[in-house]
């Protein structure tokens, strides 16, 4: 197994190498271009320091932007879970209701959540706009994956419990819930990814001056490309961290599963 270790070290080394190459190339191009539109990695570090200590043109610091985005996403996401999971469970248990009213729900699924932003701008104000957009964005993956996984619960398990005289509530609690949990969490992870994309769009288009999306846009307006990249990296980082959090929870909950696929 020493072989394995050497292999790992080699891969890590190569990764560092590629990263370094990209950074060097980037710096060179930036120097060669001498354009205000092209920030060097060094500029970005300075920009990051500025964002942490001083803040952007309006004095909002990086953590404040991040916090606002995070709160908006969390609130919308939580609302989507609150409606989507019980809703999916219910309609999954009574498939007839869903089958007979699909025509009302299904078309909405295909409207891009970002297309709801103008509607949210007209109908809502402030914080609620963002929550609504995130809610719309994350609702469907959660709802649909819950609904379908309930419908696919192995009938054998349910019958075993039923033969043993289990009550309906017991079957839901002990059999249906555990077996749908993996795909519910899968749906949640997809939702979260979409939410991070939508919050950026919503912040760019909606009115408030704080939020990572807004930071990126307003920095671009005054060609502070270093701050644009700082914003992009921050949003990538937050998205990554929340995704890892869900994977961590997933692993914790599903130790009984043979293998947890991470993708």
């Amino acid at each position: 197994m020493t072989n394995n270790y050497a292999e790992k070290m080699k891969t890590m080394g190569l990764n560092f190498f590629t990263l370094a190459m990209v950074l060097v190339l980037w710096t060179l191009i930036a120097y060669w271009q001498k354009s205000p539109f092209f920030a060097t990695p060094y500029d970005i570090v300075l920009g990051f320091v500025q964002m942490v200590t001083v803040g952007d043109v309006e004095g909002y610091r990086l953590w404040s932007h991040m916090l606002h985005s995070l709160v908006r996403v969390s609130a919308g996401f939580a609302a989507a879970c609150l409606v989507g999971i019980p809703g999916g469970l219910l309609l999954g248990l009574y498939p007839k209701i869903y089958d007979r009213t699909r025509i009302l729900v299904e078309p909405i699924r295909f409207i891009s959540p970002i297309a709801w932003i103008p509607m949210a701008i007209v109908l809502l104000v402030g914080f609620s706009r963002y929550i609504f957009v995130i809610w719309v964005a994350s609702f469907f993956p959660i709802f649909v994956s819950t609904l379908w996984s309930v419908r696919q619960v192995n009938a054998v398990y349910v019958n075993v419990a039923r033969v043993a005289g289990a009550s309906r509530l017991f079957i839901i609690r002990k059999i249906i819930f555990p077996s749908i949990l993996p795909s519910v969490i899968g749906g949640m992870r997809i939702s979260l990814g979409i939410s991070w994309m939508c919050i950026v769009a919503a912040e760019m288009i909606g009115g408030q001056m704080v939020g990572i999306g807004r930071l990126i846009l307003k920095s671009a307006m005054v060609t502070r490309m270093d701050l644009v990249v700082v914003g992009m990296i921050s949003i990538g980082f937050v998205g990554y961290a929340t995704n890892e959090l869900i994977i961590f929870i997933e692993k914790r909950i599903f130790r009984w599963r043979a293998a947890v696929s991470i993708e």
Binding site: N15, D99, I114, P118, W148, I216, I235
Partner: protein, 266 residues
């Protein structure tokens, strides 16, 4: 499931109930909007009228709905095709040579986690016109296609590869006969997901990008004028196109992948 027992009449039943649900919904909507007379809740007929007006007279700037649709789909198409052209071969290549992907992860992975929408301001500054949109779509659609292909190549059943190998097949033959057919369904799924994200991106890019043609900017224009009925028309059109494209994908998947055990679609 529910209508397995009496397939013929059951199917008709489900269809009938759906029609009924839709009618009730429209009726309720009409009544409520009629009673409330609210600016924010136009009647279905107002929406229909807006749709016809948008088709014939165009929007406030005289750009017709057809033009908006055309512009958006053209942009999507360009970016999407570019994403396929780059993502599929690259995914196959990096899947076949896992070393390459494993040693460039430090560059690829961070980019993957930056939402494509976050690139829009940067792209606005650096690119102009059509290329802005194509780039954003490309970025949004690329990763699902690329990663889907890559993971799929890595998970080709090794026995399936050993079969031609045991007869002494050349590498290219194995790629052509085994690797590509086996990854095709996953490539397709990647394309379907990529197309969905592409639509999200084009909406955002058009709203932020500052041109005045495209479905995204059209609904934003009407948001500023508080004309809900026109926003609704735009959203319905967006949903209909999204639905239609998804159906095409499913149709092709069913056709091409007859050999699959079962196709799970959600």
């Amino acid at each position: 499931m529910a209508n397995d027992k009496n397939a013929g009449s059951g199917k008709l039943g489900t269809f009938g109930y759906n029609a009924l649900a839709l009618s009730i919904f429209i009726l309720l909507w009409t009544i409520v909007s009629w009673i409330s007379e609210s600016l924010f809740l136009p009647t279905p007929w107002t929406v229909l009228k807006s749709f016809l007006d948008l088709c014939t007279y165009g929007d406030v700037e005289g750009i017709s709905l057809g033009m908006h649709i055309f512009k958006s789909t053209l942009r999507i198409f360009a970016g999407f095709v570019a994403a396929c052209i780059l993502g599929i071969p690259l995914g196959i290549l990096m899947g076949l040579y896992p070393r390459v992907y494993d040693s460039t992860k430090s560059v690829i992975e961070p980019i993957r986690f930056i939402p494509p929408v976050a690139w829009i301001p940067l792209v606005i500054v650096l690119l102009v016109g059509f290329s802005r949109y194509a780039f954003i779509i490309w970025l949004g659609a690329f990763f699902p296609i690329f990663i889907g292909t890559l993971l799929s190549v890595r998970s080709v059943n090794p026995t399936h590869i050993d079969v031609p190998r045991s007869f002494g097949a050349k590498r290219l033959y194995i790629i052509r006969k085994i690797v590509i057919p086996s990854t095709l369904p996953d490539i397709f799924t990647g394309m379907r997901v990529g197309m969905g994200i592409g639509w999200d991106c084009i909406m955002a890019a058009e709203m932020i990008g500052g041109e005045n043609e495209g479905l995204g900017v059209m609904i934003l224009k009407y948001a500023e004028l508080i004309r809900i009925e026109d926003i609704m028309v735009g959203m319905i059109v967006i949903g209909a196109i999204g639905f239609f494209i998804n159906e095409i994908f499913i149709f092709v998947e069913r056709r091409v992948f007859k050999w699959k055990e079962a196709i799970v679609i959600s």
